[in-house]
Every structure is written in C-alpha cells, then in structure tokens.
Amino acid sequence: MMLDWVSGVLLLVGSFLLLTGALGFLRFADFYARIHACGVTETLATSCILLGLLIQSDSAVPQFKLLLILLFVLLSSPTSSHALAKAAWNAGVRPRDNRGKQPLPLPPGEH
Amino acid sequence: MISHLAVLPVLLPLVGAPACVVLRRPGAAWAFACGVAFLAFVAASHLLVQTRELGVISYALGGWAAPWGIEYRIDLLNALVLVLVSAMGMTVLLASRASVRGEVDPSRHSLFYVAYLLCLAGLLGIVATGDAFNLFVFLEISSLATYALVACGRDRRALIAAFNYLIMGTIGATFILIGIGFLYMTTGTLNMLDLAVRLPQLGESQTVFAAYAFIVVGVCLKLALFPLHLWLPGTYTQAPSIVTAFLAATATKVALYVLVRFSFSVFHLETSRLALSLEAIFITLGVVAAFAGSLVAIYATDLKRGLAWSSIAQVGYMAISVGIGTAAGLQAGLIHLFNHALMKGALFLAVAAYVLRVGGTTFRELRGIGQRMPLTTAAFVVGGLSLIGIPGTAGFISKWYLVMAAMESERWLLAFLVVASSLLTAVYIWRFIEVAYLEKPESGKASPQKPAGMLLTCTLLLALANLYFGFDTRLPVSTSAGAAANLLGARTP
C-alpha cells in the first residue's frame, strides 16, 4: 500500500516535470534555453516514471528490463542533449537575450 | 523433383540470385544466370505439359494446407504465362551480354544480372501464386529490381524515369494492398480460391466493390493502361535496351495476367453487377489507348520511344479483350499476350543491337541501318509485320481472334476500330523501314563493330518465333482456349 503511494507520487512528479519541460520548450527564448528546459527535465522525469513503474511491477523480469531502460535513458538522454547543443553551436546558432532578439556576445576566443 | 515442379520455376531464380552475388566476375555471373533461367524455363515447360495432362496442380508451401498456408496453384493460365515469361526472360538474358557491356557501367555488371534474376523471380512468383498477399510480396520484388535495372540506363534521364516509376509503381502496389486488405476484412482469407468461394456469398457489398476498384487501378498502373501509362514511355526509352526488351516482353504481360486472374477467377466479373460498366470502361480505355498510343508512336523521332508508345497501344488491345469478357475475348487477350511478348522481344532486341552499333536510337542515327545490319533489320521487319498483324506472323493470329471476339459479341464498331488502329501501327513501323532502307547512312559515324553474336542469334530466334507462331498456333490457341474456359467455368456455387 505504501509502495503504491510512492509509485503514484513518482509517476505524478514525472508527468508534471514532462509538462514543464514541454512548456519550457515552447516558451523559452532561444535554442539553448529550450534544449535546456527539455533536456534537464526529460532525464529526471523519465527516471521518475520508470522508477514508479518499477515499484508497480511485481515480477523480476520486467523489473530487470525497466532497470536496463533506466540505465539507457540516463546515458542517452543527456548525451543527446549535448549532441544537439553542440551541433547547433557548430552550425552557427548563437545564444540570444531573454526576448530572443539580440545575439549575446561571444565568449573570448570564439568568433 | 517432379512433385516440386510447381515451385521450381520461381524457386530457381529466387535462390539463384543470392548465389549469383558470390560470383564476382561478370562473365561468370551471366553464365550462371543464364543457366538458372534456362532451368526455370525447362521446369515451366514441364509444368505446362503436366497441367495439360493432369489439370490443376496445387502445391502447399511449407506443407500447410491452403487457406492457412500459402499455396501455389497452377492451371493452364498460369502455366502458359510462366512458360512465356521464363522463355522470354531466358532469351533476353542470353542476348544480354554484349548489350550490357555496351550500355551499363562496368562496375555493376555482376549485380545487374543478380537484379535481373530477382526481377524474373518476382514476375514468375506473381504468376505462380495462389495467395493474394504473396502476390503483393512478389510484385514488390520484381518492382524493386526493375527500378534498379531501369536506373542503369546511360542517360541521366533514366534516373528520373526510374524514380517516376518507383512512385507510381508503389502507389499501384499500395492500392493493391488496400484492395487485398478490404478483401481480407470481408472474407477472412487471402487464398484466391477461397476468396472466389466466399465472395459470392457476401452478395452486393460496397467493400468488395471498393476492393476490386483498388486492385484494378493498382494493376492497371502496372499494366500501363491508358491513362495510367505515364511512367511507361520514359522507363522504356531510358532503361538499358536489354531491360526494355525484358520488361516489354514480360512485365506488362504479368500485370495483364493479374488483372485477368482477379477479374475472373476471384471476382467473377462475368456474373457480377459491375460487369456492364466495367466492360464499357475497359473497352473505351483500350480503344483510346490503341489509338492514342499509336498516334504518339507515329510522331516519335526516336525508335525506342516509338515502340514504347506502341506498347501502350498494344496494352489497349489486351484491355479490350478483358472488357469483352467472353470466352472468345479472354482467349484473344491471352493469345495477344503471348504473341505480343514475342513481337516486342524481337523488336527491342533489335533495338539493343542498334544501340550497340550506332550508339543511339533516333531516326537520324538509324538512317540506312538496313544495309549496315541486314540480319538485325530483317528481324526487326518481321517483328514489325507481326505487330501490324500481317498474315503469316503471330500478330495476325492475335488480330484474328480479337476481331472474332468482337464480332461474336456483336460489337461491330469495336471490330472496325481494332482493325483500323492496326493501320496506325503500319504507319509507324513503315516510317522506320523507310529510314532503315531508303535513307543514306550518315557518313563519318562508323563505330567499331562490337561482337554481338548471341544478341543477333536471339533476335533472329524471336523473329523466327514470330513466323512460326503465325503458322503453328496449337500451343497458344489450345492452351488459351482451355485457360479461358477455366476462367469462366470456375464459377463455384
């Protein structure tokens, strides 16, 4: 019973985080901010949901599989965010100010 | 092996193709492919003999009985088309070596033969199968191989042609898939015989009607029936000549087979309510195709393109025969299917020889070719006469039966239109003959003669076949009569 509660909370938190991530993705000003919003929230959110499901499940094989998926997500999700950001940078996308108008000045050594 | 006869014609090229990949030398690949095609032809001929003696041969693949497993069901109709396709596939392949060397990028030769075998296997598989979905799978095998073969053409327009064919062909195949899906929904089976039994029990169903419509449109795309012919001229013109010869002699024939099979064996077009309107549609489209195709062919300045349009016209005749829908009509269609393969095979092989010799197929390049290549041009003339329907050639027999069928069903105007359109054929064939024999060749363009003995032999062989089947018609006539009777008599209560 207790475990059910825990898993319920985890699932809810996960869903909420996904929603915020999605909102951020839509509303934030520039590419990097957006990818930040969903990249960060997604990893946590998926982990929460997977954990919640892990608790719900009652036999060993699915639990093992879920664990593997969790591991995979933990590895792949940040990496893909990184890859995206890097690709954007290489393609010449530059961070902008809060309203998304002005390009921010480049760090030293870049042009 | 006799008991496996039904599956051998398809299986040999199907398994032969991957085995052919191992052979890296083009010559070896060609020789191997020829051997495989020859064996397939032998198997198909045996099969025809067997079906003539024993009637329908059923072969349960995987050992599972029919509606649950996939069945090969060979009756006279399949057997005839199998023999035709494997024979033409073999002949064109035998002729191909020199032409492929002349027209296809050297790095691709051995894979070219692999693709050829795959295409052949696909076509044979379509014909042999008794399962609607299996038909779709083999249709795709042959189509994919065809796209690759067409793209091997030398001109960059070959790529466009292949791409257009891919788009249209895939739309057609998807339509067929939709049709098969509808049929499955309403009957729960994919086996054609089973479908034929179950469909009449449904009575009038919109779903069945839609299924038939989609299958017909899909098949007609493959058949290049006017106005769904748009892919054909480009494809035939731009593909390597050998591929054109192969496709013209086999692919549209197989599509016609599928149309006939679905219309009469599965849907019982002759008894259904749709019959009248469909009759009119097929006949109208066929007549329009016959005239439009021939007219465009008359104004073509390129021999290959002209012949491509002629194929559209000839497909029109076949559509007419399906539209007539009587036993005589179907027989006429099947005979024309058989004979047209012989004609177009001979014509396009001759074109392949021309390409090899003068490097192109425009009328300007072909001036005076009759003096330079007397035997090839003689073969072309025989094929052309056959196309016109001069007595003594196979084409005459086709025309005879088609006009007969039209008269028997008292469609006098149709009979008249059929003979009148064949006059247009005479015009474009004669246009080439004048160019070939009466014009002086352009000076200064003497390309070195490449050895093409096999090509010439095969071309002459097909030309002789055109003459032979103009006099001894027992094989196509009796087989098609039996097949037509089967198709119409297969009404199951």
Partner: protein, 330 residues
C-alpha cells in the same frame, strides 16, 4: 480508457500528417515522419500488435528517418516553395480516392467486433492450434515463420533486392564495394569525444540486445527482422561517430555483401532441404523426428537467415549512402 488513448493517438497522427502537408523544409519533414512512425508504433501497441509496433518503431522512427537524414546531409534541407504546382489535380484525385475508400468502409464490419469475418475464418486455427503444431507461444512468429514462411522468404528477398538495388544505383563512378572515402573522417578538429565514449559503452549492449531479440522472438515480440535492424543500428552508430573508413576496416563491405546473400541462402537452403527429402518447400518436419522440435529448429534457422540478411543489407545501404556523403557532401 483504451478508447481514449485510441482517440488521442489517432488525433496526434492526423495532426502530424497535416503538419507534414503544411510544412516546408526537409529537416522538419523528416522529424515529423519520425514522430509519425513513433506514434503509429504506439498505436500498434494499443491494437495488440506488439511485433508490428516493435518493427515500426525500429523502421518508421529509426531506419527510415536515418536514411532520409543521410540523404538530406548530402542534398541540403531546402524545399522549394512553389514546386509541383498541381494542387487542384491532387485534391481531385485524393478526393476521389478517399471517397471510394469511405464508400468501401461503409459495408465493413464494425471496428473491433470479435465476430467479424476476418476473425472467424483462417485466424482461429492459428490461435487454437499453432501452440500444438509449432510449440511456439508467439502466434505472430509461428505464422510468420512457419504457416506463411514463404511470404517471409519473399520479404527477405525484398530487402535483399533493396540492397542490390541501392548498390547498383549508387555504385557508378566508384568501384563497387570499396567505400573508400576521399575526405578524412568526420571533423578531426572537433572529435565527438563525449558521444564516442558514451556510445562505445552502449554498442556492445545494443549488439547483445539484438541477439536477445533474435532468439527471444519465439516467446515475445521480436524476431529476425527486428534483431537485424538493432544489430545494424549498433554498427551504423559506430560508423556515424568514427567515420566510414573506421567502420569499413572493422566490417569490410564485400563481406557484408556476401552476408546479405548468405542470409537468403540460409533461408532458401532450409526450404530446399525439405524438398530433397520429398516434402514441400519449407516444410520443416524433415529437420527432426519430433514434429514440434522440427518446427522450432526450422523457425530458428530461418529467423537467423532473416536477421543476417536484414542486418547486412542495412549496413550495405548505410555504406552506400554514407559514401555519397563523404564524396559529395558538405
């Protein structure tokens, strides 16, 4: 509940497709295609088609966007605005086809009814007897690999044909099979260190997972095709990160080409074995004395053939495409 998910997924599908119609620009289109594939995979799960969902996820959301991306990398993402200005004709044609389809659906049995003819005729036998006849719980696998094994052979041939076709089409100019690029491996000044490290640890697991899927297909979703796709993805991932030459050194193109034929031959020869013993093509009963055992052996062998061919053909196709990128790209 199921109905709600159903409706949501379908509306998402429609939205995606509509967006595809409206959007210009190839990169966005490819992303939408990928989404479409993923959504339809999810839909297939709702429809109880787990095997299909698995495959569609791998193909619709994986392989085909990958190939599209590789092509766009060569060609560029631009899509002209006014190209193909025949919308009226298109609307007409689509309207007619759609109307015909709708007409066709009117007489169909209602969605999901257990007494629809499709569920009463052939399928019940599979559900009732396949367990006894083949000893394999996953009915889709037993139908695929035994009852309709010939279709599956056709499927393998189709994928093999695609491989042959792609080489045939793309090989001109460059010598067949030698995917020797002209430029150096990807961007030496900016090595994807993080990506490389992460994926290097993941690739072995991917390959392992491929084997799991290959051999677990009898009991759950999976089978040769899915396994082949996953295996190939592992290899392709390596190629994407370390460059074509690197992967070509590990797995030589001619070998892959031979493997693609080998898989088909494994399948075909299994069938021919039965013929040599006087049974129909692909009748597995000759492979062992016990019929169920024989079925299992047969299914395993042909699934292996499928896996080999699919993996090698996908790798071959990747090589051919990547080679285009390396020789033409940037």
């Amino acid at each position: 509940m199921e109905l709600a998910v159903n409706i949501v997924l379908l509306s998402l599908l429609v939205t995606t497709a509509a967006a595809l119609v409206l959007v210009r620009g190839l990169l966005a289109s490819i992303m939408l295609t990928s989404i479409y594939g993923l959504l339809s995979a999810s839909f297939f799960v709702i429809m109880d088609a787990v095997d299909v969902a698995f495959t569609e996820a791998a193909v619709g959301a994986g392989v085909s966007p990958l190939l599209l991306l590789l092509s766009v990398a060569v060609i560029g993402r631009h899509e002209a605005r006014n190209a193909g200005a025949r919308p009226l004709f298109a609307v007409l044609l689509v309207g007619i086809t759609g109307a015909l389809l709708i007409v066709g659906t009117l007489d169909m049995p209602a969605f999901g009814r257990a007494d629809a003819p499709a569920h009463l005729h052939v399928a019940p036998r599979y559900l009732l007897l396949s367990g006894e006849e083949t000893g394999i719980p996953n009915v889709v696998t037993s139908v695929l690999a035994s009852y309709r094994a010939y279709d599956t052979l056709g499927e393998v041939i189709v994928i093999f044909t695609a491989g042959v076709a792609v080489i045939l089409i793309l090989a001109s100019g460059t010598h067949r099979g030698s995917a020797r690029p002209h430029s150096a491996p990807v961007d030496t000044k900016d090595p994807h260190t993080i990506l490389q490290v992460v994926s290097k640890t993941m690739i072995p697991f991917m390959l392992l997972f491929a084997f799991y899927v290959q051999f677990h297909g009898d009991y759950g979703p999976g089978g040769g095709f899915q396994a082949g796709v996953i295996f190939a993805s592992g290899i392709i991932l390596y190629g994407l990160l370390y460059g074509l030459p690197a992967i070509c050194r590990v797995i030589r193109p001619p070998v892959v080409e031979l493997c693609s034929a080998l898989g088909v031959l494994v399948y075909g020869v299994t069938g021919i074995l039965s013929m040599l013993q006087g049974r129909p093509f692909l009748d597995y009963s000759v492979l062992a004395d016990d019929p169920i055992r024989a079925q299992q052996i047969g299914i395993m062998v042909i699934e292996l053939g499928v896996g080999i061919t699919v993996a090698s053909v996908l790798i071959v196709i990747y090589y051919a495409f990547a080679n285009q990128f390396e020789t033409n790209g940037n």
